[in-house]
Structure formats: C-alpha cells, structure tokens
Amino acid sequence: MKNDENSVNLSRRGFFKELGMIGGGGALLSAFPWLQSCSADDKVQIAKEKVRIGFIGTGSRGQYHLNNLKTIPYADVVALCDNYPPHLKEASALYPKAKTYDDYRKLLEDKDVQAVMIATPLYEHAHITIDALHAGKHTFCEKSMAMTCSDCLDMYNVFKESGKVMFIGQQRLYDPKYIKAMEMIHAGLLGEINSIRAYWFRNNDWRRPVPSPDLERKINWRLYKEYSCGLVTELATHQLQVGNWALRMLPEKVAGMGDIVYWKDGREVYDSINLIYHYPNGVKMTYESMIANKFYGLEEEILGSKGTMEPEKGKYYFEDVEPAPGIMQLINQIEHQIFDNVSFAGPSWVPETASVNKGHLIMDKVTSISGQSSVGASGDGSVELVTAFCEAAITGKPVPDLVEEAYYSSVLGLLGLQAIDEGRVITFPDEYKIPYLNFA
C-alpha cells in the first residue's frame, strides 16, 4: 500500500506559511488550539529527539501511516504488531529493524516503546487504547473512537486521568484547506451558516480479497456488526466533525434511516444511510452516504446567508456578488497582518457574466481527494496529524480540543446509528456529554 502520490513532509513553518499565518498567526491559532502545541523550548527538544513508536494494526491504513512515518524526521518505528501474519510481514518489510509482535499486550510491555499508534479494526480501538494509556504510552488511535458511546467515554476518561497524549485520526483538523476554510467561515465570510449538507458516495462493495473463506470476517470486518458500525463510523465521523467545527456547536438531536439497498451479499451493515442532525439554533446538518453511485463523491456543503463553502474541493462561492480578483487575497493579508503587494490594478476589467458561478479557491494550491480510496490519500492532513502526534509525544503535552472534537464526531455517528436502528429521534444523552462547546 505504497502511498507514492508525492508524500509531503510539511514542516510546521511551511505549514503555517501555506496558511498565510505568519505575522498575526497567534491570534488565529487561538481558534485552532490543537495547532499550537509547541513552544520555542518544545521545538528545541523535538529537534533533538525521536519518538519510539510501536505500531498496532498493520493493514492497509496502518501501512499508509507507516509509509508516512518514514518522512517524519523525529519518528522511529521500533515495534510492529498484528495478529494477521501477511500484514505483519508487509509492515516488517518497511521497517526490518522493528521488533514484531502478534499480541498487542506484549508490545505494550516493551519498555522501548514510548508511543503507540493503533490502526486496528474498530472493535479493537477502545480496549487497546485504554490498555496503552494505562501502560503509560502516548497513544494515537484511528477514528472512529469506538463502537459504543460508553467505550468512547471510557477512552476519554482514561485519557484525561492518564495525563498522556492521545490523538484520534481526525486528519481534517490538520488539513490546511480545512483550517483556512474554517477561518473564513468564522470570520463571517459566508454570513450566518444556515444549513450543512454532507455526503460521501462511493461505488464499490467495500470488500477486500479474501485468501480463504475462513478469513472473510477478519479481512472484511467493515461489513459485520460484530466489528464495525459501517458507514457511520468509517466515513460519517470525518464529516460530522466538520459540521460541528463550522458551527462551533454540537447538535442535540438526530434522526435517520438506513438500509441495505444494493449490496445484498451477506453483509450486515447498511450500504445506504441518511441522517439529520439538529443544532440548538435550528440549523440542520444532513448526512447521506451510500456506496452504489460515486458521481457526487464527498463534500460538506456549508451554506451561509452570503456564500457557500465546499471544503473538500477547496472552493467557496459568493451568493450574488463576486469581489474583484485580488481583493480576497488582500483581505487575507490584512487579516494576517501581512504587508505585501497584491496585483489587481490594470486596464478596466469586465466581470464574467457567465451564469455559472465558478467560485474561488480557498488557497492558491488546493489538494483535494476523490474519496474513493478506503486507505487514505496524500494531502489530506494525515501527515500533519501524525507529525503533530509525534511532536506531542516527545514533549509529553496533550493537545487541546483535539480529543473533544474526535469524541463528539464518534459519539454523534453512533447516536445516528442508534436513531436508525431504533427508528426514533435520539436526543443527545446527558451521560455522554463531556465539557466542550455548548455542552460545557
């Protein structure tokens, strides 16, 4: 699973430069607390050290991260663990010096391991994460957090008690185009946000080849309720987080429906889900995912009174008026206290009168993904996310708000599934509220 589409290693400086966060970055970073984990002293420490990582779960997503880790200078993968030998062998080929384990508990006993990264099937996230934190390891666990709300809450509580670093794989929190988009939304560029329409469509059976029939459930764990919650945990959680992030609010109710419409092949999880999340101010986020047509791909359409954001595509649109080219760039510079020449003067300019609103790019260079890969894509924030985890594991300082963002996206996905399964509107249960945003 080599990810060879120009794997990037964005240094923090380059990362912020790309975002236009040079001079006035401080004020803006306060809106994205998880991005400001490093003081000057921390940076000196990070530059001198490597964090020794034990990696648990070396399947496709795991190998995607393992490839990326090779580009992160202060990461050192010292141990690998998988109970499926072919995957472990593939990972071992990437890191021949790393010790190998078939039982994660043995890896956690390894004193050489300072931090663990977990990319196992969903049903193993909670107990491995909790055991890792108890073993004193800084822990990165792929999203979604867990299969039940109470497991999510247990993970959160153990994380808080442990004082260790915990990261959940919500890479959009580190995707430059998302950060930029949220900054624009929070600055009021789109006016008031009145609706969010999120969707993720694919056209494939979501199956992996199975070497022998007895491995069906192990390999295709995503399709069975014992190991997976299907689309809500595998896809929706990424996008539910985006909705909360844009609105800076958590929804209090969810309704939904789900079915197996097309892939009637023995799977147990839905291949088609529709959910409606209701926020306290009356705004709804609708969520749709199905895997028998891929035409619309994936997006979170954020609809404001003055404009529309499509962060997956890295574009935004004004409702009626198109500011002249260059003006948005100048505004961005003033917002970041940058004094630089913007080219806009010239002979009289006649705006295009075409009825098609082509929109503007969020950033000069936007990397967008097709959403068809179930492994991961380059330029989606994953490298930056793992880089930040390595930095935090070296300094030992947990990153603010990241776990809360991930917690609520995981729990909201699970509540959506509950709404579908029980055929009723689910109100966010008080026992699963952790202090954050409007649930603080």
Binding site: P323, V342, S348, P351
Partner: protein, 268 residues
Amino acid sequence: MSYSNYYAASGLFHGSMSSVMGTQFDILMVGGDPRLLGTVWEKIESEVRRLDKMLNRFDPESEVSFVNREAGHYPVTVGEELWEILQDCKRYNELTEGYFDITLQGFNQVLLTEEDKSIFFFSESLHIDLGGYGKGYALAKIRELLEENGIAKALINFGNSSVLAVGTHPCGEYWPVGLDNPFTKERIADLKLCDSSLSTSGNMPSHPRHIVNPHTGTFVDEKKMVSVVAKDPVVAEILTTAFMIADDERIPVIASHFDIYEKHVYKL
C-alpha cells in the same frame, strides 16, 4: 447587488458591489466603529448607484441617455451636477489638447450655454460617453464621504482600472498595489499609493482596440498601457485615456498642465 463583511480581528470592513458602471466595485475600510463603517458603506453604495443612474449611457433612463437622445434636436437643460461635470469635461478636453473627449468626435460640436445650463449637439449623430470620467468622479465623491466620516484607512478598487487609496495599509506606510501586464500576466510595476489615486488604461488581449482617437476617428491599436497616479482621481482617470492616444512627444506637454505624482507608459 452587494455584499459586505466585517472582519473583527483586523477591524476590516469589506463592501462589494457588482454590475455598477459596467464593472465591479470593492472597498476596504480599516479601523473605527463597525456600525459607522456599515453606515458609510450604505452611503457609498447609494452614491455610486446614483452616479451610475445619472452617467450610464447604456441605461435608457439615465440623464446622459436623455441628453444623447434629445440634444441633437434642441438644447437640453441638465441638472446642476451634470452641468458641472460637462464644464469639467470641456476644461479637461482643452487641457489635454483634445485627446480626452467625451464626444469622441470633437468637443467643438457641443454647445454649452451657461444661462439655461443647456447642452446642444451640432451633429445629430453625436453622443457623449462619460466612461473615461465617471469612475474617477465617483472616487472623488467617495473620498469626500470617507473624509466626512473620519475613515482614515481605505482602499477602493473600481474595476481594477481606478483605484483610490486613503491613508495607508494597516501594516505599512502606503497601500501596495501591483500592476500586471495584461498580455503576459507578469508583474510590471509595484506602486505605492497613499492619499492618492491610480488609474490605468490599456489595450488587452480581450479588447485589443477600444479607445478612439478623437482627432482621427481611428482606434488605438498599439500594445500599450498607461498608468497615472494623482491626488485627484478625476485627473488620473482622464489622463490615462489622453496618454493612451497622444504620442510620446505630446505626453509630457499635456502632463505639465496637471498636478500628478507619477505617470507610466508601457509598451507591451
């Protein structure tokens, strides 16, 4: 149609209007009470719409359209403001050796009568076009509005060709404005504007010939671009048109009649 947004972190107000004077209007105002900025924006918006309504020759209901329809038949009495504008245009026509000409055929075919503030065309086919004047005039009006309301830092981009800078960029000693070559898209100049106005006129790939020489009736088809920076946005506006047409020897002579900061003539 219009759009506005206030960026609280930097105290920046952005107002934008489309389809006005044939182009796009954007203003950035920095500092001060956001409610005041909002009120000033509303005033600017209605002022620019009002001027467009008066000066736009493509709007059949505009005062200029009425003049264009009727002044070939009888002397048309115009409103006080349009009268002042016509006087102004006549004066600039003389000062530019006839190169700035709202008739495009020779200002001597226009009779302006002070007593009844009327305009009469000696030729029925004559019409006036304030396209090379209106945006500069609007910017002058806006500058007054900004001054009256104590707005100390503002940048206005009127369709790229007319830019007004009030005060400075919040992080610098001037407003930096880049000028691109419309043929190559390469940066041709970095201009520093501070309490000044920049006007640019030129031929473009999309419009390789659109400026008429009033002395010959032919189009200017040189690959040429002219920029003028002046205190008075009207002066900058009318001079760029004149310099597009006038030959290289006449430009300094014409320029000597005006108070300007910079002039640039680019052969592209």
